[in-house]
Symmetry: C2
Subunit: 243 residues, 2 copies
């Protein structure tokens, strides 16, 4: 089963204070790029894997989705999602994505933000997600970029010329990583970009778009402290279609 770090009191408190928790989608700098990958939502039946506080579920409904199912492992997050949602067409379920099997053939879009890199059996879930989509249905998701998950101790360093660099090691050795982020011992699973894409292709997805996300030059003008984040991508965003 997945480590349920989001129900850890200390992690939850720290996570709740991130901009993406207090401001929702507008507080997530990668959201404009992720949103641009989405199909028009009008009438769509949507599944959100790792729905957290329900920000995307509510946004999807505001943008025309017919029905949204949000799934998360964290009771604490779902409690707040339910508190903040007044919409009969949004349902929340508490489930471990390592085992969750969505109903077959009933979704037009599966969305997932920053959840898949916690999962060990991602191939199993992706096969069931493919099965849950109608033909031509879409899977749009983000994960931490493999350059973030590869190092045992991720962090910036300074080269001899005084420039910030991101030291990479362990990239080709996939598997478990334990890092300290908002709490000690957060368990993630490192996979290469190739592995993510080949898993998708193998279960029947056709790749439509791959974005290695860092802040745009425009975002850096507004937030000069983000400049360093262009030295290496933070997130991997993928749009694919069920064949």
């Amino acid at each position: 089963m997945t480590q349920n770090i989001y129900d850890d009191a200390g992690f939850f408190k720290n996570y709740s204070q991130l901009p993406r928790s207090t401001q929702g989608l507008a507080g997530a700098p990668e959201w404009p790029k992720l949103r641009a990958l989405l199909p028009p939502l009008a009438g769509m039946r949507v599944l959100d894997l790792g729905c957290g506080f329900g920000w995307f579920a509510r946004w999807a409904r505001e943008n025309g989705a017919a029905h949204v199912v949000g799934v998360d492992i964290s009771d604490r997050m779902l409690a707040r999602a339910r508190r903040d949602t007044e919409d009969q067409a949004i349902e929340y379920f508490c489930a471990d994505l390592e085992r969750y099997v969505p109903a077959p053939g009933v979704f037009d879009l599966v969305y997932s933000s920053l959840a898949f890199h916690y999962l060990e059996n991602l191939d199993r879930l992706l096969a069931d997600v493919h099965n849950a989509l109608v033909p031509g249905g879409r899977l749009v998701f983000s994960v931490e970029h493999p350059l973030m998950t590869a190092p045992a101790n991720p962090g910036w360093s300074t080269d001899s010329a005084g420039r910030s660099v991101w030291p990479v090691e362990g990239y080709l050795d996939e598997g478990l990583r334990s890092t300290d982020w908002l709490a000690e011992g957060v368990i993630k699973r490192h996979r290469t970009i190739g592995t993510y894409l080949n898993l998708l292709i193998r279960v029947g997805f056709s790749i439509r778009n791959v974005e290695e996300w860092g802040p745009s030059l425009e975002q850096v003008v507004e937030r000069p402290d983000w400049k360093v984040e262009r030295e290496r991508p933070m997130f991997l965003l993928v749009d694919c279609e069920a064949r």
Copy 2:
């Protein structure tokens, strides 16, 4: 026009001494993985972009290809390719891939090894390559991995724990890089993995397989000095199909 560094006397002399020049495909450690991406060649009409000494062209014919066209910018390399080839079904052409337009609809496979990262107008070439393939035809190619082309001064560093790390910077800033490799001032073009894949998808290719290549654990047993090359991938290998 592409920098024709392969016709630089110093570069050519150094390049000619690499294992991949003296031993051919067997001297290229990524070859087993690249070969595994290829379709059965029996009866195929094959185009090799950046054919160099013609090792792949001859191998393709030995493995059943009906006809092979090899294209390279370097007269020196083609002179040796012609010297080493006695086969009427292999043709060599000297051309700059920035401008080369293959005949439309006449190839079953386009192959390219470590050439595309020299090109500025790769989108133009990929569109014409797609056009040159029959429907269902394949493009299988390798490039230097973006982690190799991103840094202004690529090279290993040592972290505080004494481990070899590969410092990354400039990853999201695509474009020209001038590095010293076998000769001074070799011009390459840095692109992210996302950009490579999105260019392919946009001109009509369907992605079949993406490999971020480093030596396998088996290869490291035979060549312990290659162990460090697993810290980050050296090459990006892509197999895609013309829709």
